[in-house]
Subunit: 249 residues, 2 copies
Amino acid sequence: MRYAYPPYNRAASSAGVTKRSASANTLFIGGIMAIKFYYLSGSPFGWKVWLALERKRIDYEMVLLSADGGDLKQPGFLAINPRGKVPAISDDGYNLYESSAICEYLDERYADSGAGLWPGNLCDRATGRRMESEVGAYIYPPLRRLVEELLFRREGIPDEAAISSAREALASELNLFAQAAVGDFLLGHEPSLADFALYPMTALLDRLDLRHPQRAFSGLMPEPLKSWSGRVEALSYFQKTVPPHWRAG
Amino acid sequence: MRYAYPPYNRAASSAGVTKRSASANTLFIGGIMAIKFYYLSGSPFGWKVWLALERKRIDYEMVLLSADGGDLKQPGFLAINPRGKVPAISDDGYNLYESSAICEYLDERYADSGAGLWPGNLCDRATGRRMESEVGAYIYPPLRRLVEELLFRREGIPDEAAISSAREALASELNLFAQAAVGDFLLGHEPSLADFALYPMTALLDRLDLRHPQRAFSGLMPEPLKSWSGRVEALSYFQKTVPPHWRAG
């Protein structure tokens, strides 16, 4: 399997994989291999898992895959996720994919490490899981449509009706999130998986604006979510999770 | 809010709601009101929650809503779920929607009631959550497309290219599930939320065949999933969860 290297640590990597660790630079702790975290730069679901790994201060080795390089369809990776999608993890021989399942697993398996991904209160936790589902079911589909039309399209012209309908859906959905947020973060004082699920999606709006400033998608963010974004970006571990190819410019 | 009554217990209901209980016919237990379970006949995500309520032997009052009657858009229901979708629950004043969040909540809140929704083993539980996500992300979208084209379409002719592409996607996805199943149920000896998520989707294939027998969608089920279906249908509480309007014929 080939790996792409993010520009910011290409020099540091010599083994063909990108090694990252939240609390140490070692890959082996007490004989246990660090979790392998399979990631594709820019994947919003991958970013959610990355933020979760950091919040929980879990030792991991990030394996940065290249879609253009065909890594996702290599037999080695298909053995981990038969759909050839990121995020995925391998933990001491156990392979898992689907970001929500991965994060719940990490929270249970490493219950004593770092900070929890959900609030202690039962109803807050349920509301958080609701929000995480909502991001996947209602925010991601219209956003993906925008990305397909405006960032990934290789031929033809953008479907303006689809863009307009996606914009409308996103505006309405983001307003629901703004109304549902109850504190500095979506569920209160502390960040949770609900924030980690939503933030990477909203960051894609800025990314769309970079390429299409006249469309001003970031204007879809309601005021309360704009300040919420700033608080997510101020988390101590946030900067290192910015998609490598976004850093490159 | 208006409610539709399923034919099989119309006579039993006099308060304008359909009352069902897994272990008793009372709505009040020790002064605590039973959970209200908002449901729409035929909703696959609603069916998942219904099976979960039954497996956990939780007392609930089922509120059967009518989409045609406009129940989903009534202010009373929008106050529970602003998107006007089922399933949703109200538990002692706490409102929750999104089936996955509801089921996790029920499993935690009623940990001592009935049987658990997930296996005790950490990795099995994670694999189950992965499967539950996969149903929503990969089985539901093509199935919804088939239902829209072949059951809900009110004008025009079915889009055969879309039907063909949905059929192909479902065949491939159902094969992944057949390969991933490890026992009588998806995760082993006991049914879990993974089964409750998948089963209602596959049941829609039979429903499609009722209207369009020549299309033979149930033929998409791989052999191992056909016998698995039979085991889900043999669960003691299965029959009472069959969508009311399917019973009516």
